[in-house]
Subunit: 193 residues, 2 copies
DNA sequence: CGGATCGTTGATCAACTTCAACGGTCGTGG
DNA sequence: CCACGACCGTTGAAGTTGATCAACGATCCG
């Protein structure tokens, strides 16, 4: 199993010594997902952090009316997990599944804690990682509060042009918080100009 | 200057040795704010992390139409900063000001980096802190996408009962993403039942 | 072929905003 | 001490934005 992409990603933020790399490799699990396969299902306990090698996963929430609300897409070199469930140990209210056939590296919660204790570099790496994710999430809250659906869609296109290409529209609609029907109308409006 | 509340807050997550405490104390700046005073103004560079001792600050964004959108309230033992600007060094598009007379402890960006390098405990502390903030922000995105304004208001009351007491309604409206007029109508509806 | 998935369209309806106006409270300066 | 302005909440009418529902066509794949 080749965890080189993961190591490379970490070393963009902080160098790892040999011991850290070996410990990391020892705790990394490889998993292949087919399209539509769950990595985490509502009611499960989220016990792994997941690093996506290739393919595309989504983290989403099924609300009272049964509709899916996408919180996050994760493609190559992205992380995904229900961090809330991971920390508290409570059952997850979120789902993770594969929108495309995907390859994933997983680290169990307990193993990650051991890595934190043994190698301070991992605290640093995940601190920076989470800070970046937090900023992105903050901007998204901002947009949800202050922008129209059309503005949100345009900003999605700008920010994730690669995702806009490869994802079905219905997933994008869910991410920006509108119905697929309305997104279709937004796109028509944009065409007409 | 007494930074004990800050140390106590950190030690809920990870113990600090004497050296770490002293270095922290040496880098901590005390600042008093009067009501309405800016701690960060749009266009400034955010160069400090701010720990609120008492009072209440808000982090907000002024959009194209000139309306204020609140991203975060920070009261006692809370942190506030524009982390995006802090990291990238770019000018901030956000503002921080005091809703009440407040006391704040500040740590400059450069000093914080030194603390990270010298004492791994700070990486750990801010990792956990940010993970928690991230989870909260994620839940908020979820709510914005999947709930009505009334549900968002009720959930705000549940989650921050102390804030609901002490904040003017117009700030709460801004936080949950509705106009103050509409929040007033929501409240009337809730009364009538 | 037949079903699953995806996008589109139009009609109707609900949620929320905008605007304008009004009343109450509180602090400050004259 | 009063008067004034700043700030805050409320109300109602009219307008927008976006959801819902039902229907249809296209594509893809087993």
């Amino acid at each position: 199993m080749n965890i080189q992409p993961l190591i490379a990603h970490i070393e963009k933020i902080i160098p790892l010594d040999e011991a850290a790399k070996q410990d990391l490799a020892a705790k990394t699990i490889f998993k292949k997902l087919r399209r539509r396969q769950y990595l985490l299902q509502e009611g499960d306990h989220c016990n792994h952090y997941n690093f996506v090698l290739n393919g595309c996963l989504r983290l989403y929430f099924v609300d009272g009316k049964g509709s899916e609300n996408v919180l996050q897409f994760a493609t190559g070199n992205g992380w995904v997990a229900d961090i809330g469930s991971l920390h508290t140990g409570q059952a997850s209210r979120l789902c993770i599944d594969a929108l495309e056939p995907s390859d994933v590296l997983r680290i169990a919660k307990q193993d990650l804690i051991e890595l934190y204790v043994k190698h301070a570099a991992f605290d640093r790496y995940f601190r920076v990682l989470t800070e970046n994710a937090f900023v992105a999430m903050q901007q998204r809250v901002l947009q949800n509060i202050s922008s129209t659906a059309e503005e949100r869609y345009l900003s999605f296109l700008e920010k994730y042009p690669h995702l806009a290409q490869r994802l079905p529209q219905v997933q994008i609609a869910s991410f920006i918080g509108v119905t697929p029907e309305f997104l279709s109308k937004i796109r028509r409006n944009l065409m007409e100009q």
